[in-house]
């Protein structure tokens, strides 16, 4: 096997690196429009919306499904998971979020907390077509 076959193609590699980084950065800035204030937290589990929590009022919501629990705390306009009985505790470690578009994910419990703007134009999604 000849070395020439895969000897570094520096120019191409550097161009690839630059191109991917620029593309990703552009995407990043177009997705996160400079931290708009969120107004509610949408809690979704197993693909279905469980509850919508207004960020204006401090509350504690305990999500329960079979043996799975996550204690969701709304405090000072932000959300975090204080306690959970999931493996890894990744959702607890993700900490507090307070900007629209941010989310906390608990993979083992298939739970997502997503921050959204309260938007009246949101399409109705609870029409079930059978």
């Amino acid at each position: 096997m000849s070395d020439a076959k895969y000897y570094p193609r520096w120019r191409r590699d550097v161009i690839l690196l630059a191109a991917v980084v620029v593309l990703a950065a552009a995407l990043q800035f177009s997705v996160f429009k400079a931290g708009t204030q969120a107004s509610e937290a949408v809690v979704t589990a197993h693909g279905e919306t469980v509850v919508r929590l207004a960020l204006g009022t401090d509350t504690i919501y305990t999500y329960e499904f079979e043996e799975e629990t996550n204690e969701i705390v709304v405090e000072n306009g932000g959300v975090f998971i204080r306690r959970a009985n999931c493996k890894g505790q990744d959702c607890v470690r993700q900490g507090r979020i307070d900007r629209a578009g941010q989310s906390i994910v608990c993979l083992p419990h298939k739970l997502i907390i997503e921050l959204a703007m309260t938007d009246a134009n949101e399409p109705e999604i609870d029409i079930i077509v059978r």
């Binding site: 690196l17 979704t44 470690r93 993700q94 298939k110």
Partner: protein, 172 residues
């Protein structure tokens, strides 16, 4: 010519790569995830074995080694629930690297593998969680993968330089 000696040597090299990859994966597990939302997203040390296998042994041995190290690593260190993520990541990274090496050098191929690995993991998460929120992480994770992938490409080049000074890869 493939005689018995060559065959034995190939098998040994493959087994060695699998073992090395499992160890690397285990070491990586000790590092806390820098992105808690996606526990599967890491430096990608174990992907180094797929990369090495691709260049030293070929495409088919590379995927065999990738799958073997994922199965072993998952059953040794992780829970079965992590398997779909690891498999999707490993297989897509392999496929992308196979195509990529026709065009790019080792650092570029390694970068593509890392990016593909992350993308596959995000897609599996989206599928399992039934929510597209996680697509939001793609840009951020891609930038991280660029850095780790490129650096690991250099590690691979160095490794290759050293290994080729020995007789480990002759007649293989």
């Amino acid at each position: 010519m493939k005689n018995n000696r060559t065959l034995a040597k190939r098998l040994t090299t493959q087994a060695m790569l699998v073992a090395a990859a499992v160890v690397l994966g285990g070491i990586e597990r000790l590092i806390p995830p820098f992105f808690p939302a996606m526990p599967g997203v890491k430096i990608g040390l174990a992907n180094l074995a797929t990369l090495a296998a691709l260049y030293w042994l070929g495409e088919i041995p590379a995927i065999a080694i990738a799958v073997a190290r994922i199965l072993l690593g998952t059953f040794l260190f992780a829970s079965v629930s992590a398997l779909p993520y690891a498999l999707a990541g490993g297989v897509l990274a392999w496929a992308v690297m196979c195509v990529g090496r026709r065009v790019f050098g080792v650092p570029g191929v390694s970068l593509l593998g890392a990016v593909a690995h992350n993308l596959a993991q995000i897609c599996v998460s989206v599928w399992l969680l039934d929510s597209t929120v996680l697509f939001m992480y793609i840009p951020f994770l891609t930038i991280i993968a660029c850095a780790t992938g490129f650096v690991l490409g250099f590690v691979m080049l160095n490794l290759d330089n050293h290994i080729r000074k020995t007789s480990l890869l002759t007649n293989i």
